[in-house]
């Protein structure tokens, strides 16, 4: 473990990844201080104007919005749209900060649960073998027969809008990779003497899987999970981009990019004038995903001696 940590910190790529991740964690934790929410639900992006057209960075809150907030008795915590506003007057800066929490939430919850399902199915399939293995693996094949994004889109469309629906869809179609990896590892590990010894002693099957096999085979799965967090966040953002993800106005990077879609070309004589609508959320998504990928990639190189160049 020490060797792994040392490698993680001595490799420039993974060091950048770790620093980026730490920054994002900080942003997520400090969100209420960096961008104090106006309303009870902090995940609703406050609007800085009623204008459909995006407003450039630094524009002040419009007068009529200010009156609305004052009428509602809300305290106005800040008055400028630091990074400009998206289509519909939504404050980009606020969305970025609270979107970090959304991203962590989506990434961690979906990866955790899809890993759990994958571990369960993969280990049962490998340990018991025979027709159980056959059935479970064919079911896995069936779930794998859908392009991930298409499957997630269909399920979200049918379940309806909302972040919870998006996460359900991502979990339902996201566990197959884990199941296959853990199945492969357990298939080779279950012939080892310690497993046979445990069986001979009459240890229960569940306990053998949980106490003996999983601790020895779970590492590749964890690496896969760390790489997977990025792609889950991308897929969730893609769903929002397609217009079936988070509800309108929810602090979510994908939706902010989709707001930018109509404005990206700019107006006549002002090519690229609305760059900020896509630039800021785009940078946040890319850095977030990159951070996870850098760490995951290094972990894989460290743990896979074939790629390390030491054999």
């Amino acid at each position: 473990m020490n060797r792994i940590l040392r490698k993680l910190f001595s490799n420039i790529a993974s060091l950048i990844g770790i620093i980026l991740l730490a920054t994002f964690v900080l942003i997520a934790v400090l969100a209420p201080f960096i961008a104090p929410p106006f309303s009870e639900d902090p995940y609703t992006i406050p609007r800085m104007s009623w204008e459909v057209k995006p407003q450039p960075p630094g524009s002040p809150m419009s007068e009529d919005i200010r009156q609305v907030y004052e009428f509602m008795g809300k305290e106005i915590k800040y008055e400028k749209a630091l990074c400009g506003t998206a289509e519909g007057g939504y404050d980009i800066f606020y969305g970025l900060i609270w979107g970090t929490r959304t991203a962590f939430k989506i990434g961690i919850i979906t990866v955790f649960f899809s890993m759990l399902v994958g571990l369960l199915i993969g280990s049962i399939s490998a340990y018991f073998g025979g027709w159980i293995d056959e059935i479970l693996m064919r079911i896995t094949d069936i779930f794998l027969s859908f392009p991930f994004l298409v499957a997630a889109m269909v399920l979200t469309t049918i379940l309806g809008r909302g972040l919870d629906k998006v996460m359900i869809a991502l979990i339902v179609f996201g566990w197959m990779g884990y199941a296959r990896v853990i199945r492969g590892s357990i298939l080779s590990a279950k012939e080892e003497t310690y497993v046979i010894a445990a069986k001979a002693l009459g240890v229960k099957d569940g306990k053998i899987i949980w106490k003996h096999l999983l601790p020895n085979t779970i590492f590749p799965v964890l690496i896969q999970a760390s790489m997977n967090i990025g792609s889950m966040v991308i897929t969730a953002a893609a769903l929002s981009f397609l217009g079936v993800g988070a509800p309108v106005g929810y602090a979510d990077w994908g939706q902010m990019v989709s707001f930018a879609r109509n404005w990206i070309i700019g107006s006549p004589g002002n090519a690229g004038g609305y760059w900020y609508t896509v630039f800021y959320p785009g940078v946040f998504i890319v850095l977030f995903v990159l951070a996870w990928n850098l760490v995951g990639d290094t972990l894989r190189d460290i743990l896979d001696p074939r790629l390390r160049g030491e054999l």
Partner: protein, 345 residues
């Protein structure tokens, strides 16, 4: 060999059953009323309780689950897919009309990746740990981290917004007019670039290509990153094998060792990946076509999803899943043809 292929073919109906069953399960999350809306052309009829009750029983929408599934598959087989509200035409017709556009996009995306991506991957492995290798690796990771919808918007921003070179859509309006009205222009394949060449109309060919370049780049850049990485690691592994060392010890030229001995074996796992790559492209089609307003299946599916046109979305998923199942079958069989170890198992 033959028994392997037969076993694989026998599995096909099982998978197809599973796929349709899974989709039907998802579809059944909707109420009969919502499902009825996918078969009705005029939404006004849904307001009349008597006619809806009649229609629900006509389409067997309130049957018990197994019967419902059976009747639904029966309608699928007779291509009665329902009415697409978003396209305002029967779903089968909507698919038929949009299929060539998507096919054209996907074909042009796959072929260069497979040819050039593999070549770059081999080079990067041969020069392991050199600057070139590092550059390719970093590019691959960045490519992997850049979501399609951001990359695509960037391409649109630069090449259309600022430079004005690569317009969105599939054709300029003048070209569209010629294709749809001119007597002299005959449509053979539905792939506009091919049709234009067959008609000898270079202006239309060039116009279609100009519209295609940006979507192609957007759809395929992730596959570049992916294929490169896999080829590289597979090649690295092979280069350390004993038989490669033997070949070198025999005094064979490095070029021959790499291209004849190592590359052939290293590319075996790449076949599978190339299959997976096409799969990942099928998902990317929706995003790419949405960004560039490219009138294919993906654009239609995304629009249908936004308008809650469930029937179209479900049919789209079914179509793409079937393409994938058949694609996987082809990959597996060609894998067996290439790799004797699979064959003999």
């Amino acid at each position: 060999m033959l028994s392997y292929i037969i076993r694989r073919l026998l599995l096909l109906p099982v998978i197809l059953f599973g796929v349709t069953f899974l989709i039907f399960c998802v579809f059944s999350l909707l109420s009969p009323m919502e499902r009825l809306a996918t078969y009705v052309r005029d939404p006004g009829t849904l307001k009349n309780p008597q006619s809806t009750a009649r229609l629900i029983s006509k389409y067997h929408l309130d049957d018990p689950f197994p019967m419902g599934y059976f009747n639904w598959v029966k309608r699928l087989i007779s291509f009665d897919l329902g009415w697409s509200q978003s396209a305002n035409q029967p779903i089968g017709e909507a698919i038929r009309q949009r299929f060539p556009a998507t096919l054209e996009l996907v074909l042009y995306s796959i072929i260069p990746v497979i040819l050039v991506g593999i070549w770059l991957g081999v080079i990067s492995a041969v020069h392991h740990n050199d600057m070139l290798d590092q550059t390719i690796r970093v590019t691959a990771i960045i490519g992997w981290s850049l979501p399609t919808f951001i990359f695509g918007l960037l391409v649109l921003f630069i090449f259309y917004g600022i430079l004005g070179w690569l317009p969105p859509g599939r054709l300029s309006s003048w070209a569209q007019e010629i294709i749809h009205t001119a007597e002299s222009f005959r449509s053979y394949t539905g792939l506009i670039t091919v049709d234009a060449l067959l008609n000898g109309n270079l202006a239309i060919f060039w116009d279609a290509l100009r519209h295609l370049i940006a979507p192609i780049i957007t759809l395929s850049y992730i596959s570049w990153a992916y294929l490169l990485r896999i080829t590289r690691s597979s090649m690295l592994e092979t280069l350390r094998k004993d038989y490669v060392r033997t070949a070198r010890a025999k005094g064979l030229e490095e070029n021959i060792v790499i291209h004849l001995h190592a590359k052939r074996n290293a590319l075996i796992p790449v076949t599978t990946v190339a299959g997976m790559m096409i799969i990942s492209m099928l998902g990317g089609v929706m995003i790419t076509e949405t960004i560039f307003n490219y009138p294919g299946l993906g654009f239609w599916a995304a629009t249908s999803a936004q308008q809650l046109d469930y029937g179209s979305v479900i049919s789209f998923a079914l179509l793409f899943a079937s393409i994938m199942v058949i694609g996987n079958l082809i990959v597996d069989i060609s894998y067996a043809l290439i790799d004797p170890r699979v064959r003999l198992e």
